[in-house]
């Protein structure tokens, strides 16, 4: 085991905050794309994922992903680090000057930092799925789905992909150690995983009322662009942080995260200009996210020129793939499939072509004389996650639907009224007060608000 390193620890503390910030960023990205009557529910699906998955991660999630393998590289021991057991007891006053630490390390950083860093990955992966079920899924059903999905799908898949032998446990997951597919920061475990889950959940939940006949335009594209900007910012923690150190590998991931994304934005705009005649702001924001998704698995293994190719190719594929839902008739409302599944598949598989032996990962792809050896590993890794997540998500969604008595979505009347009002009793934007119409927005109900107010009313001071 390495010695404790404060530089590595500083960068990983920073990365943890960066990646956590991606989930509110995603909430803005998604929230702007829905109609104004459902923006709060959309953002709440992301925010609630932070609360729910964060707790599950500490209870048993980290242990399932990074505990010692219980067989075949499929699952970590759920009880080894239950409640972070074995990870937090120690003497925490150590510094570089006094390096005799007695607290648990992962590599050169405190295990607790690694726990926090990986928690943010679990959170955003679950949140990503929510874009497929905008405007219509019962909030309680979403929470139940999110909890079961994290437990049954994400935690095991994170073990397959992120748990390397001898890092957090003696034996890790099969994709990382046996198959040796390259997935630096989560093209399979995060994006293919969430993307195919979104498809399965959208099919079980069903289409929005009126889709695709009625226009359902994004209600605030400035929020979408703000969200895309926050995602890009946070993604430096996601990719460069996946080096688990303040290292040359982090630098490699960082530069590729910039340039692949730049190229991807241009590629999406070019597709739009040719196909639709206009380059759109939603297209620019979508291209940014598509590029970030695609470079996520590849940021350590392709050269900077390779990153431009990966970003541009993946983004063009995504820009074409977002139309598939109209052809096949599934209402993946915010294109989680078109961006995350297609972008994740593209990035993961393109490593097999563009992997550069001079890069951080030091593996040669097909275009660099490495033959198809890495390519088949990438394809198998991608398909394994695709099938496992797709099938299990479908089953989980059906179980949640059954638990809710067949009603996994809100009623048609409530959907027409707007899910913000019917599921959360809130309205995102109040435009009535500045027009002198405050009274129409409702009057306060002190009787229901607090015990003190209730006593006040009971005393006859106010009706």
């Amino acid at each position: 085991m390495d010695a404790f390193n404060s530089g590595d620890t500083a960068w990983m503390l920073t990365s943890t905050a960066l990646v956590l910030f991606m989930t509110p960023g995603l909430a803005f990205f998604y929230g702007g794309m829905v109609r104004s009557k459902s923006v709060l529910n959309m953002m709440m699906m992301s925010l609630s994922s932070m609360g729910l998955v964060g707790v599950l991660w500490v209870l048993y999630g980290y242990s399932m992903a990074f505990g010692n393998d219980v067989g075949g590289g499929l699952l970590g021991s759920p009880t080894e680090h239950w409640g972070l057991k074995g990870l937090f007891v120690g003497n925490y006053v150590a510094t570089d000057a006094a390096p005799d630490v007695s607290f648990p390390l992962v590599g050169s950083i405190p295990a607790l930092v690694f726990v926090g860093f990986q928690a943010t990955f679990a959170i955003i992966t679950v949140a990503l799925i929510s874009g497929a079920v905008a405007d219509r899924m019962k909030f309680g059903a979403w929470l139940l789905f999110a909890g079961i999905w994290a437990t049954v799908v994400y935690f095991p898949v994170a073990h397959w992909v992120f748990s390397f032998d001898g890092v957090t446990a003696e034996t890790g997951g099969w994709i990382a150690n046996q198959l040796k597919a390259i997935d630096f920061a989560g093209g399979t475990a995060v994006h293919i995983n969430a993307g195919v889950a979104a498809l399965a959940l959208a099919i079980v939940v069903g289409k929005r009322r009126g889709w695709p006949r009625e226009p359902m335009r994004p209600h605030n594209l400035t929020l979408v662009m703000l969200g895309a900007g926050i995602l890009w910012f946070g993604w430096f923690g996601f990719n460069a942080g996946s080096a688990v150190g303040s290292s040359g590998l982090a630098a490699y991931a960082m530069i590729n995260t910039i340039i692949a994304t730049c190229a991807a934005m241009l590629a999406w705009l070019l597709v739009e200009r040719i196909r639709d005649g206009k380059a759109t702001s939603l297209g620019a924001a979508s291209g940014v996210v598509a590029g970030l998704v695609a470079i996520t698995p590849a940021c350590s293994s392709v050269s900077p020129m390779g990153a431009i190719a990966v970003g541009a190719i993946a983004s063009a594929l995504c820009a074409l793939a977002v139309g598939l839902k109209f052809r096949f008739g599934y209402d993946d409302s915010l294109d989680v499939v078109g961006v995350h599944l297609v972008g994740g598949l593209a990035g993961t598989v393109l490593i097999g072509f563009f992997a550069d032996p001079g890069s951080g990962a030091a593996v040669a792809g097909l275009f660099y004389g490495g033959g198809v050896d890495q390519l088949w590993r990438q394809v198998v890794g991608a398909l394994a996650v695709l099938l496992y997540s797709g099938i299990l998500t479908f089953v989980i969604a059906l179980i949640v639907k059954a638990i809710f008595g067949g009603k996994i979505r809100i009623s048609p009347e409530d959907e027409a009224t707007g899910i913000d009002e019917t599921e959360h009793a809130e309205t995102s934007y109040d435009f009535s007060s500045h027009r002198g119409l405050a009274g129409t927005a409702g009057t306060p109900r002190p009787d229901a608000a607090t015990p003190q107010a209730a006593a006040h009313v009971a005393a006859g001071k106010e009706s």
Binding site: P215, D276, T280, L282, V322, D335, G338
Partner: protein
């Protein structure tokens, strides 16, 4: 007395207001409205999916005027609002039975 209602393009509002002030109109009511006439709406594209937007934003200007002034009001609005392109809008005139100034209770032409 007449009620003159004009539906015009939003960007000509300042010109219309100026023209009406020139001929001595002392007040008006303006509202943002949506609608379409011969020009229909427009098309928007989101991630490649086309949406036709039927209703386009317009401004409605309402002026109550003495019978003698009504024709001049119509002419002033039409001249100020005309760009010669489709979608310039409409102006119509309707009779008004009475008008009351809320503050003083004055009725009829005095209340305008």
């Amino acid at each position: 007395m007449k009620l003159i209602t004009a539906i015009v393009k939003p960007f000509v509002l300042e010109d219309v207001k100026g023209a009406l002030e020139q001929i001595g109109v002392l007040g008006m009511t303006v509202s943002e409205v949506q609608g379409y006439g011969r020009q229909k709406g427009h098309t928007e594209v989101y991630r490649g999916a086309e949406y036709s937007v039927d209703f386009v934003p317009k401004v409605r200007v309402e002026v109550v005027a003495d019978d003698a002034l009504a024709d001049k009001v119509v002419d002033a609005v039409v001249e100020a609002a005309r760009t010669g392109k489709i979608g310039d809008g409409k102006v119509w005139v309707a009779p008004v039975e009475t008008v009351v100034r809320v503050r003083t209770g004055e009725r009829g032409t005095d209340a305008i």
